[in-house]
């Protein structure tokens, strides 16, 4: 499935706010290091994400660029 | 045009600015120029233009700064203590390259001082009371008629160079009444918003940012060098002065503003006594007529600078003369206006046994 949350890792400053507000705990601080020396946040459980957008709303660096929700499948 | 009106200087300033296309006034009451904001407050709404009494001179100059960023012809007027409050704004305006006009009706200081005329803000106006390496064009008229004429030049120069222009008058010129003939009205319908103005991006390809901030020193140096280039052009092209009876002069008075007017009488008195005295009257005190004074230093025996301060333009005269000839000084302080007889008396003392 396409990623529900698009994160621009270069903009992330590892503040941890997105992780703290995610109601489904699908975000975490990764082990990777971006060019600024920060560990960017990552969406590690795409399935569990409910596309609520709280991470986008609280991200102060606009590192969380997009939030998407899968279209309901028509029966 | 062609009609002479008897007008108080403070009001003539306003009327001239309005005819010169001034679209907005922001200011604060201060003696001896209160008639100026009052005049604007009556006339601007009649013409559909902007008048706003601000809460302080600090607010006034920042309102002027904002309006100047839109490329609108804007003015504020004040007197010495109020002009002191505006210095921060002057510095910001200078490094933002936006046009505006500021009138200072100088009064006695320092501090609260008095409300009598003085010339003690020459340093502040020409050497910069605000911080940093900046200049404003400073015009120093000596009659109400000249003030009215120069108001048109002030706005034109401000727009031409995107710079602040100071019109330096004093309480005497503000309060006296004289016949004035105003120039033709400037057609404000021809005014266009400049390409660099911040009014909202609209159809422009790029947005505009007007700031005096540049955090990288090399970048700020570039901004400063650009200002220096501008000032160089102004020095080359905009110097103005009047030389009165200087052709065969053996002695030169130097003076500006009200004192220059009195000095003309002193020249006449000396000439009546057969003394070859002349007057050099800078009209732009920035840019200062250094070349012209340096030239006259070849000709005259000495210079005699007279001002209503402790000796401020005196320093620019001395720099221009560059040691070639003596430069003497006479001044009154605290708002006292010297008489022609008084100045002539001091001049004759200098002649002493020489004549």
């Amino acid at each position: 499935m396409e990623k529900k949350v698009i994160i621009n890792e270069e903009r992330c400053k590892s503040c941890g706010l997105c992780v703290s507000v995610c109601p489904k705990h699908v975000l975490r601080i990764s082990d990777r290091i971006n060019s600024k020396g920060y560990h960017p946040a990552e969406l590690f459980d795409n399935e569990g994400c409910i596309s609520c957008g709280f991470c986008y709303i609280i991200c102060p660096d606009m590192a969380i660029q997009e939030v998407r929700r899968p279209e309901p499948v028509k029966k | 045009m062609g009609e002479k009106v008897l007008m108080k200087g403070a009001e003539a300033i306003a009327e001239a600015a309005i005819r010169a296309g001034c679209m907005a006034f922001f200011g604060y009451p201060i003696t001896p120029q209160n008639e100026t904001p009052e005049y604007f407050s009556r006339r601007m709404p009649e013409l559909g233009r902007v008048f706003l009494q601000a809460e302080s001179e600090v607010a006034s100059i920042n309102m002027v700064y904002g309006a100047a960023c839109t490329g609108t012809r804007v003015i504020t007027t004040s007197s010495s203590p109020g002009i002191s409050l505006m210095q921060e704004g002057f510095s910001y305006i200078a490094n933002s390259n936006v046009p505006c006009v500021v009138v200072n009706a100088m009064r006695g200081g320092p501090g609260l001082g008095d409300i009598a005329p003085a010339q003690a803000d020459y340093f502040q106006a020409t050497k910069g009371g605000g911080h940093g390496d900046y200049h404003s064009i400073v015009l120093a008229p000596h009659t109400i008629q000249e003030t009215a004429d120069l108001m048109f030049d002030a706005f034109d120069l401000a727009d031409k160079y995107r710079i602040m222009v100071v019109v330096l008058v004093d309480g005497l010129m503000g309060q006296m009444m004289e016949p004035v003939e105003f120039k033709e009205w400037v057609d404000v319908s021809k005014f266009k918003t400049p390409e660099w103005a911040t009014v909202g991006q609209g159809d422009r390809k790029e947005r505009n940012i007007i700031t005096s901030l540049e955090i990288l020193p090399e970048g700020l140096e570039k901004m400063n060098l650009a200002l220096q280039e501008k000032y160089k052009k102004i020095k080359e092209n905009e110097v103005r002065l009047e030389e009165y009876e200087m052709d065969d002069a053996e002695y030169a008075l130097t003076a500006f503003g009200t004192v220059a007017r009195i000095a003309k009488t002193v020249v006449d008195m000396a000439r009546a006594d057969g003394i070859k005295l002349g007057l050099i009257r800078p009209i732009t005190v920035w840019p200062f007529p250094e070349k012209e004074i340096a030239k006259r230093a070849e000709q005259v025996k000495f210079f005699f600078d007279v001002e209503m301060n402790e000796g401020q333009m005196l320093e620019d005269v001395k720099l221009a003369v560059n040691g070639k000839k003596p430069v003497h000084y006479y001044g009154r302080l605290g708002g006292v206006v010297p008489t022609a007889e008084e100045i002539y008396g001091e001049f004759k003392k200098l002649l002493g046994g020489k004549e």
Binding site: E10, S14, G53, I57, D61, V67 | L52, T70, G200
Partner: protein, 248 residues
Amino acid sequence: MKLIYKKPDAITERDTTYCPGCPHGIAHRLVAELLEEMDLVKKTVIVWPVGCSVFGYYFIATDAVEAAHGRACAMATGIKRVHPESFVMTYQGDGDLASIGIAETVHAAARGERISVVYINNGNYGMTGGQMAPTTLIGQVTTTSPYGRKPELNGFPMHVPEMLAALDGPAYIARAALDSPQHIIQAKKFLKKAFTAQVKNLGFSLVELVSACPTNWKMTPVEAMERIRKEVLPVFPIGEFKVAKGVE
């Protein structure tokens, strides 16, 4: 996939100069979203302050000017009076707006200037290293109140929206907070009313956004947001203090 949220175009590509977790970025995004939604971007002039957001013009893509410290409301007045068709807003911190700029702020409000003020309150002078500000709380330690702010020495924190709401010039005065998604969503609603007050020519508008300063509060971003909830909001409560008719 349906797009739920997307970074507004009015936010530039440039990385911000703000500390990790600084809510300035959240406030910038709300402003950018609203300007786009209300089709104001090309009409807008933002007057930026002296403070951490001094470079704000690098991050929100509108015409912009840089004011002297505290003078943004006067500068905005100058612009709006001669160009009433522009959308003119200021973006100021608590030191800028409530200390050095309080006269310009109060008078712009009293005159009912048709400008919109975004007022970021994080209880200290951030850019200069964390000095005490008019909104510093009693007992709060800052670099110029090392023993904690004491009322007998430094008086009490200042409530700007409550003060301005007493004037007749304002059309919309409110306080919101940036500590949680719920509060941020509410903050955007308040900002929209403020912008509407200008668009509909109703009067002066100001929204205080209670914010954090993780660096100078010496906390993690998550702890700083928690401090807003526990310590700051009880002193600076969320609310709408003046809502003129037509602002909804």
